[in-house]
């Protein structure tokens, strides 16, 4: 059963079917929210609020439009509101403290890795998260939706209220900028290593 059919059933009162939508999207929503908010508990709250908003507004859902676009638009809005509300908290709490290696838990192979390897993976993910924050918000959001959310370009365009070409451009520019940041970071690390050797 596709998302629209499920929503139509939910509109008719089959509330338990809503669980299926939660099961389908919770992971992707949380990945995007966690990357955007930098905090697991905030991300969980944003995802919960998103699902509750969808459920509360179930009667306003129009089956002619994409459920996924609706869902992702709500999530992005919830995240933006939370970012504004919790800006002070984000400033005062470093990601490494509030996250407690949450990124390492998301990566599937981490379960078989040693503790040291898990820490390295967590460090890489935190580094990636920090770099995404350096990008313009529209580029970072487009990357999150594409890679963490698994959205098609048209869905990204709809969720971010841009054209299809605009969505692709944002992803391309974001990737180029991110690659540049990663290379710059690697170069800095090499210079540091050399100075330690000397």
């Amino acid at each position: 059963m596709d998302d629209t059919a499920i929503m139509q059933q939910v509109q008719r009162g089959q509330f338990t079917l809503f669980e299926e939508l939660v099961r389908r999207y919770r992971g992707a929503l949380r990945r995007v929210a966690e990357s955007k908010l930098g905090d697991r508990s905030l991300a969980e709250d944003a995802v919960q609020e998103t699902f509750l908003a969808v459920f509360a507004g179930r009667q306003s859902f129009d089956p002619r439009f994409s459920f996924r676009t609706w869902l992702w638009t709500i999530l992005l809005n919830r995240c933006r509101k939370r970012l504004k509300r919790d800006a002070w908290r984000r400033r005062e709490t470093p990601l490494s403290v509030c996250g407690e290696c949450e990124w390492s838990e998301l990566a599937d192979p981490a379960a078989e890795q040693t503790g040291l390897a898990r820490l390295l993976v967590a460090e890489q993910h935190e580094r990636l998260h920090a770099m995404l924050e350096e990008l313009p918000e529209v580029q970072a959001d487009a990357l999150r939706l594409r890679f963490f959310g698994g959205l098609k370009f048209q869905e990204i365009a709809d969720a971010m209220e841009s054209s299809l070409g605009g969505a692709k451009l944002r992803v391309r520019q974001g990737l180029t900028a991110l690659a540049g940041l990663l290379q710059r970071d690697d170069s800095d690390a090499d210079v540091e290593d050399e100075s330690h050797d000397v």
Binding site: F15, G150, T176, A179, Q183
Partner: protein, 174 residues
Amino acid sequence: MTCDDAFDALTDPLLRDDAALRSHLEGCPRCRQMEEVLQPALAALAPLSSGASLPASEELSAPFLTPALIAEAEAAARTLTPRPAAASHGGHNRRTFDWRMTTFSLLFVVCISALPFVAAAWNTHVTPAAACLWKQRPGMELAAAGTADPADTVSRRVVLTCVACHLPTGAVRP
């Protein structure tokens, strides 16, 4: 596959190793160069891509919406008082604002209109031009010449007029 399709596939974690994409990249130097430029970013994003699932401990273990929770939410929604319409709420604010503005405007106009009358009354009360002896001081000194202690008398009278003007609440009047 077009270059546009190749970019779609390149950024899709499930299609990155697709044979059609590999074939396109072999024959298209521009896309191959793009892949080389984007490779660090694509590699960094891959572990967190939508293909990776939540760990078992994070999967939904309990129902998200229990029947009891739904019933509670529906009951709470029924008891809520409907919010006033946005337009009427905004209109109410605008009316309050207009009332305040009108009051302030009226007060302002009244104050401005009354200002000349207040100033005239003030001048009449505190600056009796005819009574001011400061400007008449040279003539007074000449007229008083030859009388006993003329300087002291003239000075005292002049000072009294100064005090009368500059301390209007005082009881001293020349």
